[in-house]
Structures are given as C-alpha cells and as structure tokens.
Amino acid sequence: MTESYLLPLWISLKTVAAATVITFFLGIAVARWMSRYHGRAKHLIDGLFILPMVLPPTVVGVGLLLLFGKNGPLGQLLLALGTTIVFSWPATVITAIVVSFPLMYMTARGAFEQVEPNIEDAARTLGASEWKVFWTVTMPMAWPGIAAGLVLAFARSLGEFGATLMLAGNIPGKTATIPVALYFAYQAGDMNQAWILVFITLAIAFSSLAILAYWRGRRPNRKHVRLLGARSQD
C-alpha cells in the first residue's frame, strides 16, 4: 500500500521533467524562429501552435489518437519501427508536451519580441556571432518572460489529465500519473489515496513555484526591468 502513491508520483515526476525540458527547448526554438518570421502564413502557423491550449484536452486526446493510433500516420511509422506509443509511458510525455507547448511558445515569443533589435544589432557590430548574440543578449534579456513560460509549462504538464487518459490510459505503475491516479482513486472511494495525492501535488506546486521565483529573482534582470521602466518615461 505504501507504494500505491509513490508510483503515480514517480511517473508524474518523470513525465513532467521530460516534458518540461523538451517543451522548454522546443518552445524557445520555435518562438525564436517565429519572432523573426514575417511570412504570409505567420498567423496560420501561430494559430496552429496555440490550438492545443484552446481546445478541450479530450479533443487534443482524440487528435493525438488519430495521429498515433494504429491507422494514424505517425502510428504506422512507429509500427514499422516495431513500437507503439498508445498506452505507453512516452504517451504521457507526448500529451504533456502538446498541451504545455503553447504556453511556453507564447510567453517566449512575447519575450523575444520585447528585446530591442538595436541591442542585438549592437552586439553584432561588436563582433558577436549569431550564437553569441542569442546566448549573451537575447536570452538574458528575454529571461523574465522565458522563466514565466517555464513555470506555466511545468504547471500545465503536471496537471494534464484528459488527453493523457485518452492516449496513455490508466495503467498503474506505467502510465497512471498523479491526476489520473487521483481520479481513479476517488472513483473507487479510496479517499486516503486521493488525499495523499492531493497533498503531494500541492507540495510539488508550491515548492517549484518558490524555487522558480527565487531563481528568477536572482538573475540580474531587475536592472533590465528598471531600464525599460526608465526608458518608457522619456
């Protein structure tokens, strides 16, 4: 019985960690690309990226099943490689990425667009490569927004339920994340288990918010914020 709540916790932690890391880098890369893309399809592409946030998770789940199911294009590709995603642990990661990506993408793109192009240009004239400009100017200046996106993406992946249930199912010890396990514990009338999972979630949420708040505050970007404030006055 002691392990009954540790398993969902372990699965959730693995899922959230993997999904957040992937969403973080994917979101930043796509946001960076989109902040500079001014083609005709900009709004269309933008809408597609944000769609999973607007749709009910169950609809996202149906969409993912269509993609990864036995007859779906990606499902068949994986089948040819001798594997399947549906009802496996990676499915929890995929759903978490899909639902958290829009939050990371939107906040990061906003943050990148706030970075003054002149400042990046100044770095270029000082001999910096694009890579250096990105890591030493763009990222530090966009950091407050990026960190906010990270928190949102983390929270969203931790709370993912509907799409996960549809694509990954509820296989204890394999795909049953905390929200899924909590739902089934409650349904089964196992209130002890349900409460424990509730408190675990609360603990994770609060401590990660505290860590991220500390981490964000420690960055030297308060100077940045002050500068922007000063500039808007003149």
Partner: protein, 361 residues
C-alpha cells in the same frame, strides 16, 4: 577611406546612395525617413542592400556583383545607436569588454581602465546601464564601440536624447576623439547646427537620395535645392526667372515683380538648362536702407517677432502681383525703430543673393 554605392528598395522610397569619405567626419543631414539610418545599417552589415558595393579601406564589405557580403561581426565598423543600445544586463565594464573573446582576456583589464579614463566614466565600472544618466550611457556606448578599434565609426543621432548643455560637452569631446581616431566617422543628425559643427563635409539626404554632398561651407553658401537651402537657414526662397547673364553677374526677376535684380555669379549654374530658378537670401543678409539704388525692393512691414538674440521682421513686397514675403533679421534696437504698416526699402546685396534649381527643373 569609405566608399559606398548602394541601392535598396524600401517600402516608402528607394534608397540610392553614393558617397565617399577620406579620414574625416561626414555629417549626414536630412528629414527623418530619408534613408540616413538605413544607409548606416547597410554599411554596418545590419541590412543588406539590393545592389552596389561598399568598401572600407582595403576591404570590400559588400559587392553584389561578386557576391561578397561580409557579416556585421567581421566588418570592423563601430556603430553608436540613437538610444545607446547598451546591454542592460551587463555592467559598464562588461559592456565595454563585450566584443573581447575569452582568449584575448589577458591585459584587457588595463585597457578597459584606460578606456574608462578616456571617456570620463570612472567610478561607474560596476553599475548597470539603467543606473546611469543618458549622458553617461552615451559615453559608455562610445567607449564600447571604440574599444573594438573599428576602422570607421557610424553615429546615428548620438546626442538626440541629451540636454543642450550635455550635448555641447559631448560634441567637443567627440571632436577631440576624432583627432586620435584614424578612421572616418559618419555622423547622422537632424540638428543642422550640430551637423555643421561636427563635420568637415555635409551630405544632405532627401527621400533616399543625396541631394548635395560637399564641403560644409559650400553647402551653406550654395545650397543645391530648396530642401538644402531651407535646412541651411535660407528662409527667403522666391520663384524667379533668369533675364540675362554674363560672366560676372546674372539678372533675375522675382515672379510677379517687374524689376531686375543682380546676382553676383560665383559658380557655373549651368543656366542653359533652365530659366526658372529659385532665388534665396538669408534673413540676416537683407539690409534696410534709406537711399534708392541697385537691387532694392520696397515692402510693407506686416509683422515683427522678437526672438532671444534678434528680431524677425516680415515684409510684404510692393509692386508684386500676388504676394511675396521677405523675412529680415534685425538687431533688437533697430527693430524698435520700425512699426507694422511701415514702408521700407530693402537692399538684397548681389553677393548675398543666391539661386538654385527650381523644384520642377
């Protein structure tokens, strides 16, 4: 030596620039949106022209025919932005040393200290840009550019956000810096007085083109068209007609005025090409006189406006079909002696009258 010959299609106008400098400060004047900043960005490699070439000393920076387009980081072109564009998350020291790669770090400390000394920003080394005044920020921006030892320095309205007294101080400092700087400087400004003070030559931009580029005194004395003349303070610009000309003088008539005015010929105006011209004279060059004579017109005082150093007097010319107003600058004591409605004789000295191409020519 900087040689620029570029074309670029932009949304509002087409940029077509042709200029060359040789170890000097070239002031670039012109209304906003006339392509000044865009030209600097093309030189720095931040914007790619459609065609042409850019050469800096011995190096070709851009050549559309040969397919050469050096990235900004390899051009050794210093750029000082209008809003400073300092890195807000780095200290003054870190800003200045930004372009130094980690392998070059040895000995850099003393060089930074020297630069900080030279730019008079001592004591600010560990501050962040947000904690500096705008004048200090501009010094840091200059220091940061100069620290890379650029071969040319492009300044885009570098003092526009400063107070007048701070501006003057930095202007003189920049002039003395230029003496130790071996390369050229392009100085973009919309402030004519500043541009005239800073540059040895002046280039005037108008809708993407350079309408005049010459030694500053020539631009001041012989503006090429109405825009340049206005910019240079020639406030009286009157549509005129050329009546006759010989080697030393040209006779013109203001449109609607039946009177020949003489104009000392200082340069070859290429008169065969056009008869319609614009005559111009600065308000401070118009003389009020009692005795009749050559080049004298009559006008009625319509308004007197007192300024800080002198008074501006507006006169409506007599004997004219339509109306022509002439502005005259007067010492305040002289302005006190005249009143509105008074008829005055104005002398337009032949060596002070200038003329230029008509807008339609």
């Amino acid at each position: 030596m900087l040689e620029v010959r570029i074309k670029k299609e932009l949304s509002g106008f087409n940029l077509a620039v042709d200029l060359a400098t040789d170890k000097e400060i070239l002031s670039i004047l012109g209304p906003s949106g006339s392509g000044k900043t865009m030209t600097l960005k093309c030189i720095a490699g931040l914007v790619r022209p459609d065609e042409g070439y850019i050469r800096l000393n011995d190096q070709v920076l851009y050549d559309s025919r040969k397919g050469i387009n050096l990235p900004a980081r390899q051009r050794r072109v210093g750029f000082v932005f209008q809003n400073y564009a300092l890195f807000p998350h780095l200290t003054v020291q870190e800003n200045i040393a930004y372009g130094i790669s980690s392998s070059q770090r040895t000995g850099v400390k003393t060089q930074i200290a020297e630069m900080i000394d030279k730019m008079h920003i001592n004591g600010l080394e560990d501050r962040y840009p947000g904690q500096l005044s705008s004048g200090q920020q501009q010094r840091v921006a200059l220091a940061r550019s100069l620290f890379q030892k650029p071969e040319t320095l492009l300044l885009d309205e570098p003092f526009s956000a400063l107070d007048t007294h701070r501006k003057e101080g930095l202007e003189y400092e920049l002039l003395s810096l230029q003496r130790n700087f071996s390369g050229d400087m392009l100085f973009v400004t919309h402030d004519v007085g500043q541009g005239y003070k800073m540059g040895t030559r002046i280039a005037v931009f108008e809708s993407g083109k350079i309408v005049q580029c010459d030694v500053k005194k020539t631009v001041l004395d012989e503006p090429a068209n109405r825009t340049v003349a206005r910019l240079m303070g020639v406030k009286n610009l009157i549509e005129s007609e050329v009546i006759a000309s010989d080697d030393s003088t040209i006779s013109i008539r203001f449109q609607g005025l039946e009177k020949n005015l003489k104009l000392r010929r200082t340069k070859n105006y290429g008169l065969s090409e056009y008869r319609r011209v614009i005559a111009g004279i600065r308000p401070e060059h118009v003389e009020i006189t009692a005795e009749p004579g050559e080049n004298i017109v009559q006008g009625v005082v319509s308004r007197i406006v007192e300024g800080v150093n002198y008074a501006s007097c507006f006169l409506q010319l007599n004997e004219v079909k339509g109306s022509i107003y002439i502005e005259v600058s007067l010492a305040k004591a002289d302005a006190a002696l005249i009143h509105e409605g008074q008829l005055l004789h104005l002398r337009l000295p032949p060596d002070r009258l200038i003329m230029m191409k008509s807008d339609s020519a």
